[in-house]
Structure formats: C-alpha cells, structure tokens
C-alpha cells in the first residue's frame, strides 16, 4: 500500500481539510443569530404553553418535549441523505451534503467480467449539528454522518479509494459483507491495518450477500470511532436471475420451491433491485419509496451515555418544528415530517449504529410492517409487526404502505421512550 512520508501526509491532510472545508457552505458553526432565531420560534411556543394557563385558550399546559430552535449548518442534509443511493455512477451533486459535489462516485466499469463500482471516500474531522444549536466534533466519511450510502448489485466489485484526511486519528473501513479476502477486512490486525492521517488504501469487496449492510471504522478505541460518526450503509441489490436459479439461498423458507414460490422470489428481487430494474413496480403500487435510516446517538459530555438520539444524526429533524400539543403543528425549513405518497411501497433500510446502549428499536404508529433481517431474505422473517428491536450493527429492511390510511401525520420512533424524547422521534406525512 502507498505509505507516505510524514510531511507529505501532513500536506495532503491539510489539502483535504481545506478543500472539504471550502466545499462546505455556511461554515459558521453555531451562530448567535441562529440561536436567536430559534429562540424566537421556541419562545413563541413556550409562551403559548404558558399563556394557556393564564388565558385558558385550551392549548396544552404541559409544554412539550422536542428541540428548541432550528438547525443552522448546511453541511449535512438528513432529507437529502434519506433517499440518496450512490452506485458509483458519476453524479454532479449529492443531496446528503447539501447538493455539493465531492467526487464520491468515481465511476462504473467492467473489469475481468465483473462490474466495478468505484468510490472515493475520505475520512475527515468535522463539527456537525446534532440538535438545533448543538454541534459536536465528529469523525466523518466524506463530511457526513452517517457516511454516504453505497449501492451495488450482487456480485459487483466495490472499490473504495480510502484516504484518511483526519488530522490526528488512524481510521479504517470495515464492511459487514461476505468478504473473502482478509486483507480487505479493514481491521488493525489485517492487510494495511489502521491508516494513519494522510495514508490511503484501496479496499475491494465483492457485493454479497444481497441485503442491507453496514460499514464502519474498526480503529481502536472502537467505541469512540463508531460513536463519533464513522459508519454508513451499503445496499446490495439481489440479482433476479441468480434468485431464479437458486431461490433457496434468498429465502428464509423451508417449504417446497414451487414455480409460484420461485416467481414470487424473482419478483421480490426485481422490486429490491434499484440498479437493473429501476422501473419495476410491485403490483398495486405506483412506485417504491426507498429510504435509509441509521439509528444513532451522541454523547456530548463524555459521561458514557447519549445526550441525543436520532434517526440520521439530527434529533427531531423528521418531526414538526412546532406543535401546540393540541393537534396543530407546523413544518420548519430544517425540521419537518418525511413526505410519503399513499400509492408508494415504503421500504426502509434500517441500521442500528447506536453506541453505549445495548439496543435500539423502531416502532410505527397505526402501521404494521414486514421485516427482513439484514435484508438477506426476500420473504419477510417477520410479518405484520409494529416494533422491531435491533442490537448494534443489526439492520434490516422494513416494508409498509399507507394505501388504506387517511392522509396526515404518522409517527415512528424508538420505543425506548428515553431515546424518543432525546431526539429519535420522527413522522411521515402521508398524502
């Protein structure tokens, strides 16, 4: 692997830091203005709550949990991240980092009869907002937490040109894939081991098995490297033809493989395959709405427990910015529910990356979903549940639809109430 001299490493680190920082707009961190603006809004709601007691407007007297104020930084956009899948195909801008371009997608090409999807990933230290007005120094892949979502088709080669642009810390990328080459495991004891600041390495992984997977830094101390933000999602789309040939490999199912079972599995594979079957729509739907949600938490004060929990880093970002507790709510520019179309199949790639707590969970209001653990089965492992419990690194695919529901707000959140009240509280706005 290319190992650089210390001064070259320092120069590279500086360049990376500078170029990324320049690429990042609104490099203001938390400003007084933002806090002021936020407070103006929150003050209003607080007064509404207080005023209710005096003026008996019938509004909630209880106050309400939820963050005060609006998000300021534009470095990371959880709404852009939600539906961004990077296949390696060149794209000018990425929604997850506010529409900026960072060269993540480095090309798709054939090599030795295999499709190669190449990505340029850089580890970089960055302050990101985790609650309105609260920033935390994070360690990121390409300036975002969670890191960019990579998507490949089963059997593709994922080639990641990784550069450690951190100023101080050694990092790696460890994939939760069936990786057959120990040198590519991204751990201190194998291959290049940890990569010091300025060092780089090209990881190559075969995209298998089909499903939703996790990648993360495996440097020590592990808790710090994961909790500070070095994790992301890899989605591997199943190949319908392979499914047709070996359906058993893709099914948590022990009955006879009839033609109907085989066809159902193939249809499910096509539905899951966004790369080769982008226009495939399951019967009864207008489309598929795929979303990525990483459940994470942040310990801001070094007490070994999280002060903030979230789906996709920003606490309460998928919740109304304002609510009077009496059924009226308002969206804000940085905090609003996720728009969902009733006619779509909603598919959530859910990943559990919370440190310090043993488990996290996902609970839907007024809704039951099918759950595919790690997404490796094309038939649900559990059907018709409204809560699923995940340990660290556990992930799954959730499928649900709102065809029969009336339009409106539908909540989903961790059913650890503490996590919900500390930020992991979200909504779909169905229309």
């Amino acid at each position: 692997m290319p190992s650089m001299r210390a001064d070259e490493a320092a120069t590279l680190t500086d360049q990376l830091q500078t170029s990324l920082t320049e690429a990042i707009e609104g490099h203001e961190g938390v400003t007084r203005r933002a806090v002021l603006g936020g407070l103006a809004m929150a003050g209003g709601s607080a007064l509404a709550g207080v005023g209710a007691a005096d003026e008996d407007h019938g509004e909630s007297e209880h106050g309400h949990f939820g963050a005060t104020g609006a998000y300021d930084g534009s470095r990371f956009d959880p709404f852009g991240y939600l539906r961004e899948f990077n296949t390696g195909a060149e794209s000018g801008s990425r929604a997850a980092i506010g529409g900026r371009s960072d060269g993540l997608n480095a090309g798709v090409y054939e090599e030795d009869g295999r499709t190669v999807r190449e990505f340029d990933v850089t580890a970089i230290d960055l302050d990101l907002e985790i609650l309105p007005g609260i920033t935390m120094p994070l360690w990121t892949y390409n300036g975002q937490v969670p890191g960019p979502t990579l998507r490949a088709e089963e059997g593709d080669l994922i080639r990641v040109n990784f550069v450690n642009g951190s100023r101080k810390h050694a990092h790696t990328i460890h994939p939760h894939l069936r990786n057959l080459n120990p040198r590519m495991d991204g751990i201190p004891q194998n291959g290049p081991g940890v990569l010091d600041p300025g060092e780089s390495f090209t990881y190559e992984w075969i995209a298998q098995p089909a499903g939703t997977h996790l990648y993360h830094c495996h440097s020590l101390p592990l808790k710090a490297h994961i909790h500070r933000g070095l994790y992301g999602v890899i989605v591997v789309d199943p190949d319908p033809e392979r499914v047709r040939e070996n359906p058993r490999e893709y099914l948590d199912y022990h009955g006879p493989i009839t033609e109907a079972v085989r066809e159902r599995a193939v249809r499910a594979a096509k539905s899951r395959n966004m790369i080769s079957y982008p226009d495939f729509v399951p019967e009864g739907y207008d489309g598929i709405d795929e979303q990525v949600m990483v459940m994470n938490g942040f310990d801001t004060n070094f007490d070994g427990s999280n002060e903030v929990y979230a789906a996709n880093t920003r606490g309460f970002c998928y919740a109304p910015a304002e609510s009077d507790g009496k059924g009226d709510w308002e969206s804000g520019p940085t905090r609003h529910p996720i728009q969902v179309d009733r006619a779509d199949l909603v598919r959530i790639h859910l990943v559990q990356a919370t440190e310090f707590d043993f488990v996290n969970s996902f609970h839907t209001h007024s809704q039951f979903f099918d759950y595919y653990d790690a997404g490796t089965s094309l038939f649900p492992n559990r059907s018709t549940i409204d809560t699923v419990l995940l340990c660290q690194a556990q992930r799954g695919v959730l499928e649900m639809d709102y065809r029969d529901h009336e339009p409106g707000l539908y909540m989903f959140h961790a059913h650890q109430s503490e996590f919900a009240e500390l930020g992991w509280m979200s909504f779909f706005e169905v229309s």
Binding site: G49, A52, A53, H62, H64, F65, A67, I134, N301
Partner: protein, 400 residues
C-alpha cells in the same frame, strides 16, 4: 538644622523634581503600559496548549411559579456560552430564556432565567439539565417539587405574622428582664453580660458555618467564601468605626445596646430569610413546634439587648422600643425577601454581615466587662459557657 529640614521637605515635596501627583500615578501608568504590552505581545503563546477555558454554568436555584412552569436561575461563571437545549428527566424540552442580553448567549458573569413549560407533579423529583452549544451539560435536581408561593397578601401576612412571633415577641419578652437586671449587683450583672456574650458568640459560629455552607452554592464567579469573609470583616469594621466616631474611647451603654440590636437584628434577618425561602421552596412545615423553637431561641436575645443599660440611668422608653424593633423586626423583612428570592449570594452576604455585627458586639461586651471588673472571673466565664450551652440547646429546636 532648620535649613536642612526645609531642604529635605523640599525633596519630599518634589521627588525627582516631579510634582507629587505624577509620582502617585506613575506606578499605575507603568502597570497599564505593562498590561497593554502583555496583551499585545501575548508572551504566553508558547504555553498555549490549544486548551480553552471550560464552560462553567451554575444553576443557582430553582423556582416553581405555577403548576405548569419550572424556572431555573443560572449564572455563567466561565467563558461566554450559549444555552442551546434543556432536558427534563432525560427528555429534550422546550424552554424560554431571559437574560440581560435578551438571548441564550451568556457573557462571563451574566445571569439568566430559564422558564420551562412543564406539568410537574407535586412531591416528585425532577432532574434538569441544560446543554450548551458545545454539548456540555449542567444539571440540578428538584427534590419533591412544590410550588413556590407567590407574594400574595396572604403570604405577606403569614410571613409577617411568623416573623413577628419568632422575632419581635421573644425579644420584647426578653427585654422585660430589664427591671430585674437593674436590681442586680454589679458582679451578677457582669455575669449576665458574659452570658449575653456567650449567646452572641454561639450565634457567630451558628451563622458563620451557615454562611460558609450557603457560600458553596454561590455562583463561583462571586467567590462565595471570600464574599462571606468580606461581609464578616466589613460589617465588623463598619460597626466598630461607627461606634468609635459616636462615642470616642469607651462606647456608651446605649450605643452598645444599639450595636447589639443591630447584630441581633441582622441575625434575625438571616433567620427570616431562611424561613422565607423554606416557605418558598414549599418546605413550610413551619409547624407550631418550629415557631415555638424560634421563640425560645430568640427570647434569650432580649436580656442581651438591655443588659448593657442596667447600670446607670435608664434611657427613655422610646429607646427600648427602637432597640427591640431593630433586633426583632428584621425577621419579618427577612421572611419576605427570602420568599421573593432564594439567591444564595444574598443569603450568604446577609448571614456574613450578621456574623460581623455579632462579633463586634461580643468584643464590645467583653471589653465592657473587662474594664469594669474582670472577664476572667469564674462566674463570668461560667456564664459565658452557659450562654453557649443555652444557645446550643435551643438551636436543637429549630433545625430547618
């Protein structure tokens, strides 16, 4: 010789040939230049480790004004900081903040009030944290939440009544010993004065310890313990200076009585503060027992006030009323103020001033007895000790 003297005084009049005032301000000017130079050149840059001063926000006290509000009174004792979010029992909660700067950004030493709309339940504990923009948290626990009584006419009357009972009544009763004291022989009277000094001496420690205890809750930016030291010594010196300027060498008995009344008054004021803030914190289990305890405790203060007057001519009745009011009535005012604010800074300061005044009176009584007899006579020493013991015993009745 005369010439020499005048030469020297000329030298002193114009040192280095400069006007006196120039010499007087020269060191200050040099200091200013040095400080300016130090700030401009920052010679300590070599020591900089990249560390920044750590945020230090104190939650000084909490109030619960209504059934739907919790209020935090906070002070920023560290570098400028922004209060970004608030947690109640590990839930991010909305809040409103009022500060002199009208925002959540607190400069060093700036105080703010954070109001949290919250439907709390009486008797429950609440853990509240404030989070700065950097994610640092500062917490407090409200134990067994009770609503803070507002200053209604009812509360004013109740606190006034309690203050009258524990402050004015016992002092007045104690002063009724005056005719008896007048009839006493001088040695016995000295013993009574020594007894008074014992009483006050005990109060010095009683209030002194409390002052330092409260000082620990004072925002660190005000240097609580040193504030208490300043309060004690300052009050003592002020009172001493006042008495010196009024009476010359030997304090008149009347001045001494007034000084004692002031000291006891300040002490009773602090007692009033404690009662008022206990009331405000919803700990107003000021049952009959506690009120009786305070009365017995304070009735011993009466003879202290009048003992210095027992020798010689009896002052006019107006003086007695004034002395009694000065010693007793502050308990009422203290109750009201204590109910309005639970500021530990204020409480520590008043306690300290009271201690200083008491100390001064103890020394004065000691000096008085010493001049007219001897403080070291066995009956006097015993009486002093008895004063301490009586105060300890009655203190047991009023542990809040």
């Amino acid at each position: 010789m005369a010439g020499e003297t005048s030469d020297r005084s000329d030298t002193f009049a114009r040192p280095f040939g400069l006007p006196k005032w120039v010499i007087a301000v020269l060191p200050i000017l040099l200091l200013a230049v040095l400080v300016g130079g130090f700030l401009v050149t920052s010679p300590l840059a070599g020591l900089a480790s990249g560390g920044e001063p750590l945020p230090a926000v104190s939650i000084d006290y909490t109030t619960i004004p209504t059934g739907d509000q919790i209020r935090l009174h906070v002070t920023n004792n560290g570098p400028p900081v922004t209060i970004a979010q608030v947690q109640v029992d590990e839930a991010i909660w909305n809040f409103d903040i009022t500060s002199p700067g009208r925002d959540a950004h607190l400069a060093r030493g700036e105080s703010a009030t954070i109001t949290i709309p919250y439907h709390w339940t009486p008797g429950w504990d609440y853990h509240i944290s404030i989070l700065t923009a950097g994610g640092v948290s500062f917490g407090t626990t409200i134990v067994a939440a009770q609503q803070t009584p507002a200053m209604t006419a009812q509360v004013i009357w109740t606190l006034g009544y309690v203050g009258f009972l524990v402050g004015v009544i016992p002092v007045a009763l104690g002063m009724l010993w005056f005719p008896y004291l007048q009839s006493m022989r001088r040695e016995h009277l000295h013993a009574v004065l020594a007894f008074s000094a014992g009483i006050l001496g005990f109060l010095v420690f009683d209030a002194g310890f409390e002052a330092f205890e409260v000082a620990e809750s004072v925002p660190s930016t005000y240097l609580g313990p040193l504030l208490v030291v300043l309060g004690i010594l300052g009050a003592m010196l002020l009172l001493q200076a006042a008495m010196e300027s009024r009476t010359g060498d030997e304090p008149s008995p009347l001045a001494l009585a007034y000084a004692a009344a002031l000291g006891i008054g300040l002490h009773n004021f602090a007692e009033g503060l404690a009662i008022g803030s206990a009331f405000a914190l919803g700990r107003a289990s000021l049952g009959a027992f506690l009120v009786v305890g305070f009365m017995i405790h304070n009735v011993t203060e009466g003879p202290v006030l009048v003992a210095p007057l027992a020798e010689g001519e009896r002052p006019s009745l107006g003086h007695f009323v004034a002395i009694g009011a000065l010693a007793g009535a502050p308990a009422i005012v203290g109750g009201w103020i204590g109910n309005l604010t639970q500021s530990p800074t204020l409480a520590a300061l008043f306690l300290a001033i009271g201690v200083g005044a008491l100390l001064q009176v103890v020394f004065d009584i000691g000096a008085l007895v010493h001049r007219r007899g001897s403080i070291q006579r066995v009956p006097n020493l015993l009486a002093f000790g008895v004063g301490l013991v009586v105060m300890y015993a009655t203190d047991l009745l009023i542990v809040l």
